[in-house]
């Protein structure tokens, strides 16, 4: 790849989640040239791992299909997967970027036929299910993966399995000699849509995520409810496969906590309200969801979703930050200890399963970013000193999908403005 793939009239979008795809597409559909760089092997990001959206209970995959169709049909967007930003120098309107491309070990020749997967015996934790199950070490990330190309896990490169995959491919698409590549080019503006990651629940020691099988995160629960997930949509306990009907949802797991994340992650209340409805759908009147919360932040029109869940007899709300979780060693049930602060009532309640509504931590936390970038106290991207780089979506602030897309659309125009200014000054010069 040469520097000629881009000029200072090009926009670089970092991150191929829904915010990044949106930022890239909105600019491209205004006629701008965009490079969309995604760290993982596929576009889609976190939303492609969600089962449903609040408050409509519709399927994120539906929007993903539309966005992927837009990308397939738009020559202005150049998609680069397994690609990370190594460095950005320069300033507004004139950045030099260096990208690192990790080896996929599968070339464009891949048709997605799956023969390599059949040939391989080794299995790796399935990233699409947060490691709740395993997949072959030669795999398609998921049904909606784009590009629809297999990936070979580095762990089998140089093994018999690796060779088996190579031998199985009729199209010679497996290239085990592939090396990490570095490319450099100019862009006029950069949109950082690097998104978020779930806060490491193991750090919240009183909840024993690292000690108790039946304490899981809200993202893992999302996979459990999804028919495409590890249990085929059955809500059962990872610990022993027992049906989980009596489920506790613990809010602010990491968020609003100066020991962990000082910000409120905004989405967790609504995500939990949504997930109580998964439980209801699965078990009907037998379902029992208990939400332990500090404040229910069902903001603006989401209020009516909250009102409906509030009126759902299978769901109850307790204003309390759970103090600690103990284990009932007989039945593996987590036991929640705490106090309902509305009138001071102590509880020690057993549940089949505990879901920690984990907070959003900016994916760039701990990553070395260009000096030009301005972060807030929680590592969300406020913007850049020279004004040519922008945060978009949940990289800029903890946002739900709808707001993330709105934010990405705005960031897209800000990038276009930079391009426009550069162009017009060059024209007048």
């Amino acid at each position: 790849m040469t520097a000629s793939i881009a000029t200072n009239q090009t926009i670089l979008v970092v991150g191929g989640g829904i915010a990044g795809m949106t930022a890239a597409l909105e600019a491209a559909e205004c006629g701008k040239q965009v490079i969309l760089a995604e760290k993982t092997p596929t576009l889609g990001g976190r939303t492609s791992l969600l089962y449903r959206y609040f408050p409509k209970m519709c399927h994120p995959t539906c929007g993903l299909e539309i966005n992927l169709k837009r990308i397939r049909g738009n020559p202005n967007v150049r998609v680069m997967t397994m690609t990370e930003v190594a460095a950005v120098s320069g300033s507004r309107g004139d950045y030099n970027v260096t990208l690192k491309i990790k080896p996929r070990y599968v070339t464009e020749a891949c048709t997605g036929c799956g023969d390599c997967g059949k040939a391989v015996t080794a299995e790796v934790p399935n990233p699409a299910n947060y490691g709740l199950d395993k997949i072959k070490a030669a795999y398609l990330p998921h049904g909606m993966a784009y590009p629809q190309r297999f990936v070979i896990d580095p762990s089998i490169v140089g093994t018999a399995d690796g060779e088996a995959a190579k031998a199985a491919c009729k199209f010679g698409a497996v290239d085990l000699a592939m090396q990490e590549e570095t490319v450099e080019f100019k862009v006029g503006s950069v949109v950082w849509a690097t998104g978020w990651r779930p806060f490491d629940a193991a750090k919240i020691q009183p909840y024993g995520y690292d000690r108790f099988d039946n304490v899981i995160t809200s993202l893992e629960f999302e996979r459990l409810a999804d028919p495409r997930g590890p249990t085929g949509g059955k809500i059962v306990r990872p610990g022993d496969g027992k049906e989980a009907k009596n489920i506790a949802f613990i809010q602010c797991a990491g968020s609003r906590d100066e020991n962990y994340l000082r910000h409120c992650s905004r989405i967790c209340c609504m995500a939990t309200l949504k997930q109580t409805q998964y439980v209801r759908e699965a078990w009907g009147e037998e379902a029992k969801s208990t939400v332990y919360y500090i404040d229910i932040r069902a903001i603006d029109r989401f209020e009516d979703f909250y009102a409906n869940v509030w009126n759902d007899a299978t769901v109850s709300f307790i204003k309390s930050k759970v103090a600690r979780i103990a284990l009932n060693e007989e039945n593996g049930n987590p036991v929640l200890h705490g106090v309902n602060t509305e009138g001071y009532h102590r509880y020690a309640t057993e549940h089949d399963l505990v879901v920690l509504a984990v907070g959003m931590e900016p994916e760039v936390t701990g990553v070395k970013l260009p000096d030009d970038i301005v972060l807030d106290s929680s590592n969300f991207i406020e913007g850049s000193k020279s004004g040519g780089m922008f945060g978009a979506g949940s990289a800029a602030s903890p946002l739900d999908v709808n707001r993330a897309v709105q934010s990405a659309t705005a960031a897209s125009l800000k990038a276009i403005q930079v391009i426009h200014k550069t162009a017009s000054t060059e024209a007048s010069a």
Partner: protein, 298 residues
Amino acid sequence: MSKKQYAFYPGCSSQAKASADNFVRSIDVVCEKLDVQLNEIPDWNCCGASIGYGEGGELPRLALSARNLALAETNFAGQDMVSVCPACWLASRETAERLHESNSLLAETNEALKEAGLTFKGEVKARHFVEVLIEDIGWDKMKSQVVKPLDGLKFAGYVGCQTNRPFGIVGESFENPQYLDKMIETCGGEAVAYDQKVTCCGGALAFSEPEKAQKQIRDIVESAYDHGADIIVTPCQLCQANVEIYQSEINKKQGTKFNMPVVYYSQLMTLAYGGTARQAGLDGQLIKAEKLEKIAGK
């Protein structure tokens, strides 16, 4: 080789014939084996303990600890001040940190200290002996001294509160600290997993609220039994005293048959390092640790 030097703040319970008399004896052996020299701070005073607040108030308690810190600074300049008692460590470290944060508080404290002819410069670091073992000596060296591994013995590592919170040992979890289990294993024993590792023993309230405290103690001992422990091991004097002393009380009141020895980590190390029962202070147990004595006798 030259020994590592520390200003030593033993604390009241570690004095000769005080409640943790046997503890310090084992500490001495451990220091001897690991080339650590503890230099007792001359004329140190009580830290005020946690219960001191009721009458003592804020500044008087700070003054008490500041006096010890000042004595350490003046007598053993450049040395960290080490305590074996969590309460002492907590009071000292908290004082050092709060005086570091607030100049006004430091000024007031020094104004009081002047009456005792001292000033606190705020240089000395207050540390726990366990920190010294882990951070300065290291696991490898601790293990290297083991000659009599405590094979076949099951211990419940009981960390309790104040060695663990609010400061704790660096890198350890408040809810599930590992270092004590690791010490047990270093000595060749088996650390059982149980759910009362950091439960409060009732602390000073063992005196004032016996029923409430003894409920805590019962939970701890019971769980240790349920999970197959022979002996409870602790780094804390108050934990040791409460959990050992009140077993007979609980038996009397509640008809239990508790008879679980409660020893200090340093006693295990002393034995594992080949020390005698006497050196390990096993004679100091109210509930005899026969299984340990047997090993000592080997």
